[in-house]
């Protein structure tokens, strides 16, 4: 496979490119945070908002891919990024519940003394 070349961002897309990169991380955190809060409080509104945040993330990835002239390998990177950001909060939520599960037993509670 030939080495993937890069084509720099067009000057007029400069701001859009930076904004979309920032939005990827912010929307990624928004998706993760809203999903966790929605599951915690059992309020489906937050989970729906989480998926809306993920849609923003996907949009930002698309803008980033377009303005960065992603081809071949770079499109694969963008696809993996989308899959990774979708799966990570779900996996982390499962880890949270698993690691905290033992905590809910009575004998494991801390003993508070003056």
């Amino acid at each position: 496979m030939p080495l993937p070349m890069i084509e720099p961002v067009e000057l007029e897309d400069f701001f859009l490119n930076l904004l979309s990169a920032a939005m990827i991380v912010l929307a990624g955190a928004g998706y993760a945070g809203l999903y966790a809060w929605g599951k915690l409080t059992r309020r489906p509104g937050f989970v729906i908002s989480a998926y809306a945040s993920y849609a923003c993330l996907a949009g930002a990835v698309w803008v980033l891919a377009e303005t960065s002239h992603f081809e071949d390998f770079w499109r694969v990177v963008a696809g993996l990024m989308l899959i990774g950001y979708f799966a990570a909060p779900l996996a982390i939520w499962r880890l949270c519940t698993a690691t905290h599960a033992a905590e809910h037993s009575e004998h494991d509670r801390p003993n508070i003394t003056p």
């Binding site: 993937p4 000057l11 990169a21 991380v25 915690l40 409080t41 770079w74 905290h100």
Partner: protein, 492 residues
């Protein structure tokens, strides 16, 4: 135990040594801000202190003071919890004391050499005695060797103490991380006449210290402080420490590739650097989920509100500074324009402050609390705790303001110096003298002054908080680790 009075009898051997590290860390923090302010003035008035205290010297002292005070803070934090975590007295405390004084004397000498000698003939004598000329790690070779020796003593003390006492997940990760910390610094001591080869190894120190070993070190310090501050369960913080280490190493090590884009290394670094840089924010996103889970499920309480406040500031600062500001310019398609501009400085200011300065400050508050006899530092502090709240607000506002100002300056540089003028010398000067750039630098100075005011308030608060307090903090003993006073909690 005398509550409310600064008394070293309240501290164990490691904690007494840690306090010394913390004090020097604060002195260097002041130096960092002072030289940063001088450099900020010189951006606006290039003739200011010209040939007396040049910009290059101020900038170097600003950056190196930051690196060294953070290292002092980390070492101090580890010494602080070493005895409590291992259950035994520190092995080789005397060596640790000697290493502290040797390191402090060396730092003092290096600063004096930077201030008064500054330059040399550019031969081996200069490299060994004055300055190696490597950005961010300018220490002369003798000081390099000294740093490695001090870190080896530190490693011996940590590993030896845990070996004599008890091991835990935190201590295991910490000990292995210290091996990497010492080993990686050695990679920066290669000297070659080929600038590409030189930079290749140099980035191993600069990137992997910061984005791998320091992050893991902070993970250990954070894990321990969460147990102490909030009574978090050991098994939980350890599990998350392992996850964080795996994610951090998974993305951080090959994320090193984003530094190899433009230094003459092969083109395959473009996809490697781009891909793994895209993964680097994932550990930070993981922390978002975990912190929401913990906050929601446990409704944690803490008596050390200032420390908890700074831990929260750490979470946000790390996420925005390292995650958002980092990812914005690590793909090669955009990094072509932004590399080495004030973008880098913008990212650096928020990420170093957010990821490292904040957690050190949190630890200073933990230390002061214990030093004053485990004094009450929860709600209802004297004067309503206005000093710590204002210092925290001003320091964060100042750093965020500088970050945005530098972002604007970097944006202008990317356009004029890189995109329009094609990275020529004339392009560089056209950008540096452009009104957009100078106006942004003016605001950077203003917010630098705000930061300095916040720092003065922080020092005042650390020196006085809990001074007239008579209430002691309460203690939790946890069934999972009987006999270990794990945390203090607020009951009133």
């Amino acid at each position: 135990m005398s509550v409310g009075v600064l008394d070293s009898r309240n501290l164990n051997g490691g904690q007494k040594l840690a306090v010394k590290y913390f004090i020097v860390a604060m002195v260097l923090f002041v130096a960092q801000i002072l030289f940063g302010l001088l450099a900020a003035v010189q951006f606006l008035a290039p003739g200011f202190l010209f040939e007396t205290l040049d910009f290059s010297v101020n900038r170097m002292l600003h950056i190196n003071a930051m690196i060294v005070w953070m290292l002092y803070g980390f070492i101090g934090a580890v010494y602080w919890f070493l005895e409590e975590e291992s259950g035994v007295e520190i092995v080789g405390l005397k060596c640790g004391e000697i290493a502290f004084w040797v390191l402090t004397a060396a730092v003092g000498i290096v600063v004096l050499v930077y201030l008064f000698l500054q330059t040399g003939a550019g031969n081996d004598a200069t490299r060994w005695l004055i300055n190696e000329g490597r950005e961010y790690i300018e220490a002369p070779r003798w000081a390099d060797i000294g740093i490695v020796a001090v870190m080896l003593v530190f490693f011996y003390n940590a590993a030896g103490t845990f070996s004599k006492g008890r091991w835990s997940g935190v201590s295991g990760v910490l000990t292995l991380d210290l091996v990497a910390l010492v080993g990686l610094y050695l990679t920066g001591m290669f000297y070659t006449t080929n600038v590409t080869v030189d930079h290749y190894w140099w980035w191993w120190v600069v990137h992997l210290w910061v984005e791998a070993t320091w992050e893991v070190l902070v993970g250990c310090i954070m894990a321990w402080s969460l147990m102490k501050l909030l009574g978090a369960r050991r098994r939980i913080v350890q599990t998350w420490l392992y996850i964080e280490v795996a994610l951090m190493f998974g993305s951080g090590i090959l994320g090193l590739g984003h530094h190899y884009f433009w230094i003459g290394t092969p083109e395959y670094w473009f996809p490697i650097g781009g891909f793994f840089s895209a993964l680097e924010p994932i550990p930070l996103v993981a922390m978002v989920v975990h912190s929401i889970y913990d906050a929601g499920v446990h409704k944690f309480r803490s008596t050390n509100h200032p420390a908890l406040g700074w831990v929260i500031a750490h979470t946000f600062g790390n996420f925005f500074g390292a995650g958002v500001w980092g990812f914005m310019h690590t793909l090669p398609q955009i990094n072509l324009y932004t590399h080495g501009t004030q973008w880098t400085a913008s990212h650096g200011h928020l990420s170093f402050f957010g990821a490292y300065a904040t957690i050190n400050i949190a630890f200073f508050y933990l230390a002061v609390q214990q030093w004053r006899g485990n004094v009450w530092m929860g709600a209802n502090l004297a004067d309503n705790g206005w000093k710590w709240k204002w210092s925290m607000a001003l320091l964060n506002l100042g750093v965020i303001g500088m970050t945005v100002a530098l972002l604007i300056a970097g944006y202008e540089q990317s356009f004029i110096e890189r995109a329009i003028e094609g990275s020529t010398w004339s392009g560089y000067f056209a950008a540096q003298t452009h009104p957009w750039f100078t106006q942004a630098m003016f605001w950077r100075l203003i917010f630098g002054i705000v930061t300095a005011v916040g720092l003065v308030l922080l020092i005042w608060d650390l020196a006085t908080i809990g001074a007239r307090e008579t209430r002691p903090a309460l203690v939790i003993e946890r069934p999972e680790e009987p006999g270990i006073k794990a945390a203090v909690v607020e009951t009133a």
